[in-house]
């Protein structure tokens, strides 16, 4: 249920998202004025074939990662849970690194082999979490989080090993990929991830009320008529689709998934029917802003967006953390 001030805040966020989405493509190495849009100049091409798809990709990635982070935090009742603590990003990185090392260039259905490797890696580590939750019915949330961290370390050391044995060129390629970036080359990549992301998001959005119940505890949720096992499995599936396809295209972008939901929890009450749309919008806005900054800060060169997210987001989050104390808002 959305009431009063929550509705107003969501509306503000929605308009902010619209403003950011419309203005961000004009900003970049050089500003494009609206008058240049339809005069068939070089700027027109840059605007429509480079910047618009890039801004769209940033928004999709930011909103998807934020939504998944929020979902994991509720599901595991742990404020530290996000696509990365569960080992999904390291799985994806590992997959990507393998394809780089094997020198697999080229693309399949508009997705580069690196992306496909990343998707497989993400799906693999998610499958571990999934298997643990369905095979071991009594597995506690802490067990799942711990196993996620173990998987994360496992993949990280495989990754380090591969970097160690690889050539300097491949090694740099891997490091660059690990920093995350939205160097989209066109609409094809967006289209290739969109079906997965949208399917996953629809599942999460439909299960938002259940997230409230999962957060209050599995037993209580069950006693309220929530199909706990089924809901968790569906949500894990949704997360695999969303995170897998986003990481495949944009690389592992940190901070958004972990912090955006927390920022929303400080601004809104923890009702997931409100928090869901809020995290979606805020995550999208945040990543578009960060990506725009990545294009501008050291122009004409570009920075990896993964560097920017924490650089700007970190201090902002800490500031919120200090400010919230008086309000009695819990982080969980």
């Amino acid at each position: 249920m959305i009431r009063g001030s929550s509705f107003f805040h969501l509306l503000v966020l929605f308009f902010a998202a619209c403003v950011v989405l419309v203005t961000a493509p004009f900003v970049g190495m050089d500003l494009i004025s609206p008058s240049q849009l339809f005069n068939n100049s070089l700027q027109t091409t840059i605007f429509f074939t480079l910047r618009v798809p890039r801004v769209l990709a940033a928004f999709i990635a930011g909103s998807g990662l934020a939504l998944c982070g929020m979902m994991f935090q509720a599901m595991f009742r742990n404020p530290l849970a996000d696509p990365f603590t569960l080992g999904i990003s390291s799985g994806a990185s590992c997959g990507a690194a393998i394809t780089i090392l094997m020198g697999m260039n080229g693309a399949l259905f508009g997705l580069s082999y690196i992306s496909i490797g990343a998707f497989c890696g993400a799906a693999l580590s998610m499958a571990f979490v999934y298997a643990l939750s369905s095979l071991q019915r009594t597995a506690s949330n802490l067990t799942m989080l711990l196993s996620g961290i173990a998987i994360s370390f496992l993949f990280s050391s495989i990754l380090m090993f591969m970097q160690y044995i690889s050539s300097l060129r491949d090694s740099f390629h891997i490091v660059r990929w690990l920093m995350g970036g939205i160097e989209i080359f066109g609409y094809q990549q967006i289209l290739s991830m969109l079906p997965f992301v949208v399917t996953g998001m629809i599942i999460v959005l439909l299960k938002l009320p259940e997230l409230d119940h999962l957060l209050t505890g599995d037993d209580l949720a069950k006693s309220r008529g929530v199909r706990v096992g089924l809901t968790k499995n569906l949500l894990l599936l949704a997360a695999t689709l969303i995170v897998g396809s986003i990481v495949a295209v944009c690389g592992p972008i940190g901070f958004v998934g972990l912090m955006t939901p927390h920022i929303c929890k400080m601004l809104f009450k923890t009702r997931h029917t409100v928090l869901g749309p809020a995290s979606f919008l805020a995550g999208g806005i945040f990543l578009v802003l960060c990506d725009t900054a990545a294009r501008v800060v050291i122009a004409p060169a570009e920075m990896p967006v993964g560097v920017i997210t924490a650089l700007f987001g970190g201090p902002f989050f800490l500031w919120l953390l200090f400010m919230r104390k008086a309000k009695g808002i819990s982080l969980d």
């Binding site: 006693s223 929890k265 009695g328 808002i329």
Partner: protein, 268 residues
Amino acid sequence: MNTQSSPIIETKNLSFAYNGRMVLQGISLAIEKGQTWSIIGKNGAGKSTLIKCIAGLLPVPAGTVLVNSIDILRMKPRERAKVISYVPQAAGRVHASYTVHDYVMLGRFPYQGLMAISNENDRKIVLDALQLTDVAHLKDRLMTTLSGGELQRVFLAGAVAQQSEILLLDEPATFLDPLHQEMIRKTLDRIHIEFGTSVITITHDANAAISRFTNLLALVDDRLFYCGTTTDFRQQCPAILTDIFSVGFEEARCSSTGRTIIVPGETP
């Protein structure tokens, strides 16, 4: 009461094991509508497991739990939730900054459709539940700012909003001061009287167990030790309490009110 009516809860030869260790063995009991039950026993005697089995939260490997003559494990989750509500022991841990109103609204889940959109009726029932449990004045407060006694009453409100015939509680008053313990008991009495809810409560308070409930159930070493009316149980006090808790109990008469209370005494 119509003696032909079947019991609201019936367990037949119920057993349960965690990782091969028996925690409940051969529990058969029948609970009639309108009764209130206390469940007593030592820590680890299987009390929490028993009410979780009755609530349909645990798969029962042996035996059956019938609620209104229907196997609890065959009921659809939402249908089950309309009949049985449950307030877990660890409910005291709140993980999020819900407002009291939003939290109590969660109890309406089994009645709501997709996206759990609440209607006028839901809001009215939540307000009534808040009033019944004396927390209406807290409705816009955040859960994280409440005291233990307030929290426990909000949890009760959530269960009341669920409008079930049966209410199962796992030690709702254990960590509260005497005033708030009494407030919880009064609230439970009110729920029972107002809605005819069958209240089943785990408690460690022997005096409350033998005076505030119509029936009593005692577990000793995973087995049913006593299952019957509180009146009969009182006849056997305090000796039977010693058998249950392995601690001596004495009766003491209060000189001013003439009331008899039970106090732990010398261990035999």
